[in-house]
């Protein structure tokens, strides 16, 4: 301020003096760090997205501007059918996930259903199972002839064939729903948790019974959250690759993601894939926008005022029906598939079941020692997830801090760029990175770094949102106290902000590490022979029918996930895994 007020008393400084003063004002260490960060974000987010659009409009051979790629992508009925299949799948799964998630959320949040904590744990459990692992479990359970459900059915009825075929549209809906419904559950439950009991009591005292209160008051209050979560589910399904590849392809139909993968088979047609993925981005942006609008409407969130207390709705005998429903979901999503995977991990031939001569540890030996390619991909998986989580957490914190404290004039633009990957399905992101950094001058294809930076971009929004809400809870006066005591901005961050936020940052690191170990769609087109990750390997091994070793790998993956989550729960607190959105 002194430089600005002083000249009024003396003489007007020259333009050059003002300019150098301005430069000096902005060329602080903070500003330099911030600028570097901005460049990094351009590299990680803006450029890949730009390259996707450019690629879709470029003739691969001549480099000329063209719309031919869009024609190629949408001219064939087969390709369009893949889109229709995906949309149908999205709607069916959204309905099924709603039918599972909403009642469970209501029962756990508002009622006296017994064992609510266990049911909640079960839902978190199914949240932690990577979707492709669940799909493998269901292939073992519901395969047309060898699947355990069909064999039990044949054994009981004496029929010559079983009725159940997981390799069908219905089967795909079932398997996806069982692992995506926790999203609906989490959104609905956190909304229900915020509904003051007084809202329900006000209805009760005016003569409304429990059922009427639930239907007229409670559910309408959380309807925006439910609808929002269904949109998210729909988008999740649209971009889901693993389960679709494992079930839809054997079943003989394509969805958008498997069609995209087909464009990457020889001859690789990145430009057509880029064009084909454009509608996905548009749909995503539209639905995310709609979800924001829904949640912003009418100030729906009704946090209970002071003296707000919560009492649970008494269900009477109905509570046992709710528990039975929860138990059925738990059986289908966690218990049965995990049991079957555990069983096949320890057997020579999964179809033979648990007989003494069928038991073996060979699958684990093969995975960890015998087959170097598996060992390599296990190492890659954790290696890449570690670096992705670390870089993400640092970047996410830096951007959030700069944006929150307005350290740069264009800080809000930085946070928008950081959030942009939310609107891009993982498989499309993989195409972006393939287009941007596989060809020269970067030529990163086949290097682990390509996968790590793609993961960083994919998970950056999560890290940013986590850090942002943590910094939001930190009063700026804490840092101002450091400044007035003579410390720099950097010292304030190092000595105050980071120590205070270390738990939230650790939580965000663990979260990204866990979801990094299972990320499939982003790694799909970017991993070469030496840079394969477990999720990609799973798809290949499933095609080859190596379910026993596959199960052993799944067990190892779940084991590590379980340990990391247990550590996180212990240090950071319950439900830290739910901070994804």
């Amino acid at each position: 301020m002194a430089e600005i007020t002083a000249p009024i008393e003396h003489e007007t400084p020259g333009r050059f003096a003002i300019l150098t003063a301005r430069v000096r004002q902005f060329a602080t260490p903070t500003a330099i760090v911030s600028l570097l960060l901005a460049l990094l974000l351009v590299f990680l987010v803006a450029n890949p997205l730009f390259q996707l659009v450019r690629e879709s409009l470029t003739n691969a051979k001549t480099g000329e501007l063209t719309f031919a790629n869009y024609l190629a992508a949408f001219a064939r009925p087969r390709y369009v059918q893949a889109f229709i299949n995906s949309l149908q799948l999205g709607v069916c799964v959204a309905v099924a996930a709603g039918a599972i998630g909403v009642p469970l959320a209501w029962a756990v949040s508002r009622t006296d259903m017994p064992w609510r904590n266990i049911v909640h744990g079960m839902v978190i459990g199914s949240f932690l199972i990577p979707p492709f692992v669940g799909a493998i479990g269901w292939i073992l359970l519901g395969g047309p002839n060898a699947g355990w459900i069909n064999r039990i059915y044949m054994a009981v009825t004496g029929a010559s064939s079983g009725p159940f075929n997981i390799f069908s549209f219905g089967g795909l809906v079932l398997v996806i729903s069982l692992y995506v419904f926790p999203l609906v559950y989490v959104f609905t439950k956190s909304a229900l948790d915020l509904v003051s009991t007084e809202m329900e009591e006000a209805a009760a005292i005016l003569g409304s019974g429990p059922a009427s209160t639930t239907l007229r008051i409670t559910l309408p209050l959380v309807l925006p959250s439910i609808l929002g979560s269904l949109f998210i589910v729909f988008l999740e399904v649209l971009g889901l690759f693993g389960t679709a590849a494992l079930i839809a392809i054997p079943a003989g139909f394509n969805v958008v993601t498997t069609q995209l993968a087909a464009f990457f088979e020889n001859p690789v047609r990145v430009e057509v894939a880029a064009a084909f993925s454009m509608p996905l981005i548009v749909i995503t942006i539209v639905l995310l926008g709609a979800q924001r609008l829904l949640l912003a409407r009418k100030g729906y969130v009704t946090v209970s005022g002071k003296g707000g207390h919560r009492s649970l709705m008494r269900l009477g005998a109905f509570r046992w029906i709710m528990l039975a429903y929860a138990a059925l979901i738990g059986l289908l999503s966690v218990v049965a598939p995990m049991y079957i995977i555990l069983q096949s991990a320890f057997t020579r031939a999964w179809v033979k079941g648990l007989t003494p001569d069928n038991l073996t540890l060979a699958n684990f030996y093969q995975a960890l020692v015998g087959q170097p390619s598996i060992r390599q991909s296990l190492f890659n998986t954790f290696h890449y997830a570690f670096w992705a989580a670390t870089i993400c957490t640092v970047l996410g914190f830096a951007v959030a801090y700069i944006a929150r404290r307005r350290l740069l004039p264009f800080a809000s633009a930085l946070s928008s760029i950081t959030l942009a990957p939310f609107a891009v399905p993982g498989i499309v992101l993989a195409i972006c990175f393939y287009a941007a950094y596989a060809p020269p001058p970067f030529s990163l294809y086949g290097f682990g770094a390509l996968i790590v930076i793609a993961f960083v971009t994919r998970f950056l929004p999560i890290a940013f949102v986590n850090s942002n809400s943590a910094i939001q809870g930190l009063h700026p006066e804490l840092e101002e106290a450091v400044r007035i005591a003579g410390g720099s901005q950097g010292r304030a961050v190092w000595n105050v902000v980071l120590p205070v936020l270390k738990m939230s940052l650790l939580g965000s690191w663990l979260l990204i590490f866990v979801i990094g170990t299972r990320e499939l769609s982003t790694a799909m087109f970017l991993s070469g022979p030496q840079t394969r990750v477990v999720s990609v390997l799973t798809i290949e091994m499933s095609e080859q029918g190596q379910y026993e070793i596959l199960s052993a790998i799944a067990v190892l993956l779940l084991l590590v996930t379980g340990i990391v989550v247990a550590i996180g729960t212990k240090i950071v607190g319950r439900d830290f895994m739910l901070r994804r959105t």
Binding site: S196, E198, M199, E201, A202, A203, A204, I205, L206, G207, S208, G209, S212, R216, I217, P220, L221, L223, K298, G299, Y300, T302, S304, G305, K306, G307, G308, S311
Partner: protein, 359 residues
């Protein structure tokens, strides 16, 4: 006519007794406040009447019909009561009109009548213009009036109010407590009002029940409560009191520094206590010795003073050093610290009180 009767109701949560064998009987159309500090059990009592909490022991009866006891229980939706909640609990997904009409819908009132009654009550609370608004588009006071309208439109047997004004600012609170009393005068609904604010209870209520540790210490009309507190707790909770020690000696009571004939204390019946309450407003202060009428006049000096805006708060010591008193005086009566003064007490204002039963 007796409307509501609580007989020996208790509520225990584990080892903690929140309400302890409480008795209360209300006439039809009466307005009773439950007044006490937080944690005294007043809200729990209200919620037992509403039916949100089942009593551990005792019964709740309405018009002679049993609603709650330790073995039978009518759920809240069947009690035909209304309640005003601390947070108002207006449903944000419904308009003002839908909020108000909800209770009528539950009572299966015909459409036409429902519309008529809703419009009428909205006019009564002066919200007719805002019927199609949503609650979050209203100010705090307007939301409060919606919640009143919603409670009154169903013509409830009993109206329960749970600290309804605690979320409003001071001015609005004063306005709304007048509104609540006005609506009570107009509709005459039997009402129970839970509050920790004396002024609210005083201005709205026919009778006030002072609660402490799960019991009613005293229930009386506001004036009696102020002038004739029965226990130390009530004397100290309502207004400002000096608690005096006194010993009954034959025909008189001997306080520190002065004696009073028992007859002049105007106590009903013989005095069987050693403590007495003397309101700080009921002590006169004079610079010179006043003409000695029937009052007791004693010399003393000002020890401390503070000006509270509408009154002076003086601390003074009697000349014989035995007794310290707090005196509340109007702003015009100004004395300096250290100044010698005379106090004047009308013995009729010295009220014998009981020690707290469960101190």
């Amino acid at each position: 006519m007796e409307k509501l009767r609580l007989s020996g109701i208790s509520k225990r949560f584990g080892d903690v007794t929140v309400v302890d064998q409480l008795n209360l009987t209300m006439r039809a159309g009466e307005f009773v406040s439950l007044l006490g500090p937080s944690g005294c059990g007043k809200t729990t009592t209200l919620r037992m009447i509403a039916g949100f909490i089942a009593p551990t022991a005792g019964t709740v009866e309405l018009d002679g019909r049993r609603l709650s006891s330790s073995y039978e229980f009518l759920p809240p939706e069947k009690r035909r009561m209304s309640m005003i909640f601390q947070s108002y609990a207006l449903w944000p997904n419904m308009t003002v009109e839908q909020n108000v009409a909800f209770g009528l819908k539950m009572r299966k009132v015909p459409k036409e009548e429902m519309r008529k009654r809703t419009a009428e009550i909205l006019d009564v609370v002066r919200l007719g213009q805002l019927a199609s608004r949503y609650p979050n588009e209203l100010s705090g006071g307007q939301q409060q009036r919606v919640s009143l309208a919603r409670a009154l439109v169903v013509k409830p047997e009993v109206l329960l109010l749970d600290e309804p004004l605690s979320n409003l600012d001071a001015n609005l609170r004063e306005e709304m407590r007048g509104e609540i009393r006005r609506l009570h005068n107009e509709f005459g609904i039997t009402s129970i009002y839970v509050t920790h604010d004396q002024a609210e209870a005083m201005t709205t209520s026919d009778r006030i029940a002072i609660m402490s540790e799960g019991r009613i210490e005293q229930i009386d009309d506001p004036l009696t409560l102020y002038n004739k507190p029965k226990t130390r707790y009530v004397a100290e909770f309502i207004g400002r009191s000096n608690i005096l020690d006194g010993k009954v000696k034959g025909e008189g009571v001997s306080f520190c520094g002065f004696d009073v004939p028992s007859a002049r204390l105007k106590a009903a019946g013989p005095i069987a206590t050693e403590i007495f309450s003397l309101r700080s407003q009921n002590i006169g202060l004079h610079a010179a010795r006043p003409a000695n009428g029937d009052s007791i006049v004693l010399p003393g000096s000002i020890v401390d003073r503070s000006f509270l805006g509408e009154t002076w708060d003086y601390a003074l010591q009697l000349a014989d050093g035995s007794l310290k008193l707090r005196v509340t005086s109007p702003p015009t009566s100004i004395f300096d610290v250290g100044q010698n003064v005379f106090i004047e007490i009308d013995p009729a204002n010295i009220v014998p009180i009981q020690e707290d039963k469960h101190a």
